[in-house]
């Protein structure tokens, strides 16, 4: 043996899931220009931005129109009904934070001309088919943030 010194150092056994790794967006006015989207969700309204200048309906919502660069956007209601365009189920390979939810259904929901991806709740893969009618569902995180899903 050499005369090197040996010592033990500690590392934390576990850490709190960092906010950016829980996948949900930050919602308040200090962190995003589309905070209104989440305020509307808390009232049970799924909304998005529409350009007042060129009338383009934009999803995801944003602060500048990607069609004409106007800042004059207004919030419009998308309603609470959707139609299932495509779906699958997460069975293997879920990310941290979603591992305990497996299996869960994921779909693309047609709302007017929009195709919005969403978790599909209250169902199993084998019970779904393309064209199914779906209802908006709002989920709340423990820290008060909200997000939307659809349910059968």
């Amino acid at each position: 043996m050499s005369n090197a010194e040996f010592d033990k150092v500690k590392r934390p056994e576990s850490i709190k899931l960092p906010l950016m790794l829980d996948f949900y967006p930050l919602e308040d006015t200090k962190t995003t220009g589309i905070s209104q989207f989440f305020k509307n969700l808390k009232e049970g309204r799924l909304t998005t931005t529409k350009c007042k200048k060129c009338s383009r309906l934009l999803w995801p919502p944003r602060i500048v129109c990607s069609n004409c660069l106007s800042n004059e956007l207004e919030w419009v209601d998308l309603g609470a009904d959707g139609e299932l365009y495509a779906f699958t189920e997460m069975r293997i390979g879920a990310p941290l934070g979603f591992v305990e939810d497996v299996p869960f259904c994921i779909g693309i929901v047609k709302i007017g001309d929009l195709l919005i991806s969403s978790r599909i709740d209250n169902t199993k893969y084998d019970q779904l088919k393309i064209g199914d009618k779906l209802q908006l569902k709002i989920v709340e995180l423990e820290d008060g943030r909200v997000f939307f899903r659809f349910a059968k």
């Binding site: 995801p60 699958t88 390979g93 990310p95 994921i106 195709l115 919005i116 991806s117 978790r119």
Partner: protein, 387 residues
């Protein structure tokens, strides 16, 4: 624009490697330099490193100078890292090519590396869930398998593509990868094996999906007029195309028709001055079996919706209408994100040189394309190579 030649390259074996990210870099770098006579690392003036997510997979940023250090390269012209997820390596090739073609660089290395196996695989899966728009699509659990599962579902729904046809893509590519010593999976599978494999995200099963892979590779580029100083058998870059439409799921051109691939192909064929009939080898991005089926269609080897029939008829095998993925594809060889395109390119070089095993050699091949898609197939990138 100067004409550019690739004069050599090297790679690691791909797979679940008992090796660090840094080990992979050194292994591939050594193999690359050993493949090119009369070239020392000091002659390389530019290095572009394709690396998709080193910050997440190995918690390391600023990776281009790290690769340069390990390879003994001291860049004087261009040093950069490229990220375009699954196409990160192809972007490294495009940038290195642009540097040499413009006259900025005289000797450039396009390198690619990814170490994807992590002690906790849920962490690796987490990394793959920030590829689509994380706040609007990733948040729903949309990583690659669920996204491509829905693509497959719609393709089956709209065109009658079958599970059997998708499985046949996997069978073909594993057939060729069984003859590739660098491949992650050097084993043949039957249609039945594919259909019996674990369901990952229905309708996609384990053998429909490319692997999680560790690997690295690099190629050396010089102006065409200098190529003979290094090799008697250079490969020339003939053209290139890239196109992107939308990013969030709502803003894609279509789920079942890859419009940006058509646009990228038009541009690649135009710049290379070739037509579909000139292509002898197509290295296509078969991240999932459905991807390759949709690529036959978008590239024009068969009609829209007939990709399933195309594989059923054996057309994408060597000796068929077009040899697709005689390397073994991503399905057979693995998909070490940043390295994937470099590995495709290296295999094309070895095809032109007649250095691959006979069972997967495309005899007399003159022209090849290498294609990568990335993200939710909103981006498609193509390189055209010739002997």
């Amino acid at each position: 624009m100067r004409k550019v030649a690739i004069v050599g390259g090297g790679a690691t074996k791909c797979g679940k490697r008992e090796a660090s990210w840094r080990d992979l870099v050194q292994e591939a770098g050594k193999a690359m330099f050993q493949s090119v006579s009369n070239l020392s690392p000091k002659d390389v003036d530019s290095l572009i490193v394709g690396a998709a997510q080193p910050e997440r997979f190995v918690f390391q940023a600023h990776v281009a100078p790290m690769v340069a250090e390990y390879l003994g390269i001291t860049p004087r012209k261009v040093l950069a890292r490229t990220e375009l997820m699954c196409a990160s390596g192809q972007v490294a090739i495009r940038y290195a090519w642009a540097c040499v073609a413009s006259g900025l660089s005289d000797t450039a290395v396009a390198f690619g590396v990814e170490k994807m196996f992590m002690p906790d695989m849920a962490e690796a899966q987490t990394n793959m869930t920030c590829v689509l728009d994380r706040e609007w699509d990733g948040v729903n659990g949309l990583s690659a398998p669920p996204f491509f599962a829905m693509t497959a579902q719609r393709h089956m729904y709209e065109f009658g593509t079958t599970r059997d046809q998708m499985a046949q893509v996997s069978v073909k590519n594993h057939h060729y990868s069984s003859m590739n010593p660098l491949a992650q999976f050097q084993k043949e599978f039957t249609v039945e094996d594919v259909l019996k494999s674990l369901v990952i995200s229905p309708p996609l099963q384990l053998l429909d999906c490319s692997g999680i892979t560790d690997g690295a590779a690099g190629v050396v580029m010089v102006p065409a007029e200098e190529a003979m100083k290094y090799t008697d058998t250079p490969m020339y870059i003939r053209g290139s195309g890239q196109a992107s439409i939308g990013n969030a799921v709502n803003n894609l051109a279509s789920l079942t028709e890859w419009v940006p691939l058509k646009l990228a192909a038009e541009e690649a064929f135009r710049t290379a001055n070739i037509g579909l009939k000139d292509i002898d080898i197509a290295e296509l991005h078969d991240c999932f079996t459905i991807s390759e089926i949709m690529e036959y269609e978008a590239l024009g080897w068969c009609e829209k919706g007939k990709g399933g029939k195309f594989i059923e008829e054996g057309q994408p095998y060597i000796g068929g209408k077009i040899a697709v993925n005689p390397r073994g594809g991503l399905l057979g060889c693995g998909h070490p994100l940043g390295a994937t395109a470099i590995l495709q390119t290296l295999d094309i070089l070895q095809q032109f040189r007649g250095e691959v095993p006979k069972g997967r050699l495309v005899e007399g091949a003159e022209v090849a394309i290498a294609h990568n898609l990335s993200g939710p197939a909103n981006v498609h990138s193509i390189m055209v190579y010739s002997r």
